[in-house]
């Protein structure tokens, strides 16, 4: 072991990824103004074919990925979804479908369950049709989602309700929790919108006031006690109001990677906002090589890249410096400490931005569209 070069030692220290996120497509029947897809979306003709996705899935499993998330866009617009799920299942991945569910019917549910699908996450835009269909920009979306949730439970699969919350639907949070219980979900993700991409564009119409956020947190704390053993609640706060940053992606390039419809491999779905990074594609290189050696993955991996006050902080390996995309969006430097951290020199600036923007508010959405 003594003759190993330092670079090889460093490489050996990179653990296998836990999960692969497959953005099969950017196409989607919904137009949510906080969509996590980039502003410049891949078109249908740029999407990878079935054979290439199957190779990517096999490579991910061989690399050590344990969970395979099928996402988009709306992954159900792909005719080969069940085929890809079956391949992932046979390769040993725990398969998760992240969907708006408006395209799910009995026949498709049966095919996906037969293919070995384990878990379905259905996004809800509100607790009733009025606000939900307005946010989704699609009529009848909400009732279709409720019907789809029943199909998932009847098929015996795990169900998570993704409740995407913001200033225009936060008053419906108690009803969203009831909806999840009535739908038979084991989990709910109460996720305040995070401000990247389309959501950053629509921030003034989405960001809650501090009082709204505190009330939501109180409701979640209360529901966690009341629903223990019935509904598992994950809670994601809008960290503009936080004093410590989120452990974004559990650390850059540490457990997770994302493959875009056209085959770019990203450390997180928003990483393309960091303009100076170059991302490898699955057409150019094997996934294993990208995971270990990609310039973009190694740019902020571990703790070596960290500036003060992250470097040497006793939370350096807890929050991993927070979010690179947020650091860029707020400070202009992707290598800066996430301004969500109270120790960041930009923290007060971000907090003031949240306070002022949420007080002014806006009711106008810019819906997502392919430009």
């Amino acid at each position: 072991m003594n003759d190993l070069a330092p670079a090889a030692v460093k490489r050996a220290a990179v653990a296998p990824p836990m999960a692969i996120m497959m953005e099969l497509t950017h196409r989607c029947p919904l137009k949510c103004p906080y969509c996590s897809n980039p502003l410049a979306m891949d078109r249908a003709r740029e999407e990878m074919d079935t054979a290439t996705w199957m190779r990517v899935i096999s490579e991910a499993a061989a690399l050590g990925a344990l969970q395979g998330h099928f996402s988009g866009g709306e992954p159900m617009v792909r005719d080969d979804l069940a085929q890809l799920v079956q391949h992932a299942h046979r390769e040993g991945l725990y398969t998760n479908l992240i969907t708006s569910a408006v395209l799910l019917d009995q026949q498709k549910m049966h095919a996906l369950a037969e293919a070995g699908l384990d878990h379905v996450q259905i996004s809800f835009q509100g607790a009733e049709s009025g606000i939900a269909d307005h946010v989704a920009g699609l009529r009848n979306a909400h009732v279709k989602k409720l019907a789809a949730a029943r199909l998932v439970r009847d098929a015996g699969l795990a169900l998570t309700v993704n409740a995407v919350m913001h200033r225009q639907n936060l008053h419906q949070l108690p009803a969203m929790l009831d909806l999840a219980v009535e739908a038979g979900a084991q989990r709910i993700e109460v996720a305040h919108v995070q401000y990247y991409g389309w959501a950053l564009k629509n921030r003034a119409a989405l960001i809650p006031t501090r009082a709204q956020l505190d009330e939501a947190t109180r409701i979640v704390d209360d529901a966690r006690k009341r629903l223990e053993g019935v509904l598992n609640i994950d809670y994601v706060v809008p960290d503009y109001y936080a004093s410590r940053p989120k452990s974004c992606m559990s650390g850059w390039a540490r457990r997770f990677f994302n493959v875009t419809p056209s085959g770019k491999v990203l450390p997180c779905h928003a990483a393309e906002t960091i303009g100076h990074l170059r991302f490898d594609t699955v057409q150019e290189k094997p996934l294993a090589e990208i995971w270990l050696h990609s310039e973009a993955f190694n740019a902020y991996r571990g703790t070596d890249w960290m500036p003060a006050p992250c470097k040497g902080c006793d939370r350096a390996e807890i929050d991993w410096g927070g979010c690179r995309c947020q650091a860029l969006a707020i400070t202009g430097d992707a290598g800066a400490t996430d301004p969500a951290c109270g120790l960041s020199p930009h923290h007060d600036m971000m907090l003031n931005l949240a306070v002022e923007e949420s007080a002014a508010g806006s009711e106008t959405f810019v819906y997502r569209m392919i430009s």
Binding site: P16, A62, L66, Q67, G92, N96, D118, L157, Q186
Partner: protein, 91 residues
């Protein structure tokens, strides 16, 4: 749900248990969750087949490892109830 000696434990449809070659260990997989069970837990989970009772699993393991049955049974009940609380074991 609390499992007793007479309960027949099984893995729910949405929970997977398998060996992971990349990490050289067993993994228990559920929504947004990966658990790496220790050697005792692996031995118990390998005996969970939807047919054997908790007592039956204790019999098998006590014989295999030449261990006192009472202690093995206590381990089985504790471990399986812990997973049941997380929704990863049904009965």
């Amino acid at each position: 749900m609390i499992l007793t000696e007479a309960s027949v434990p099984r893995l729910p449809r949405h929970v997977r248990f398998r060996f992971d070659a990349a990490r050289n260990c067993h993994v228990l997989l559920a929504p947004e969750l990966v658990i790496m069970p220790d050697a005792i837990a692996v031995a118990i989970l390998e005996a969970v087949d939807g047919a054997a009772s908790v007592g039956g699993i204790a019999d098998i393991l006590a014989a295999r490892y030449e261990a006192p049955r009472d202690a093995v049974l206590a381990d089985c009940i504790e471990m399986l109830n812990d997973l049941a609380k997380k929704g990863m074991i049904a009965a």
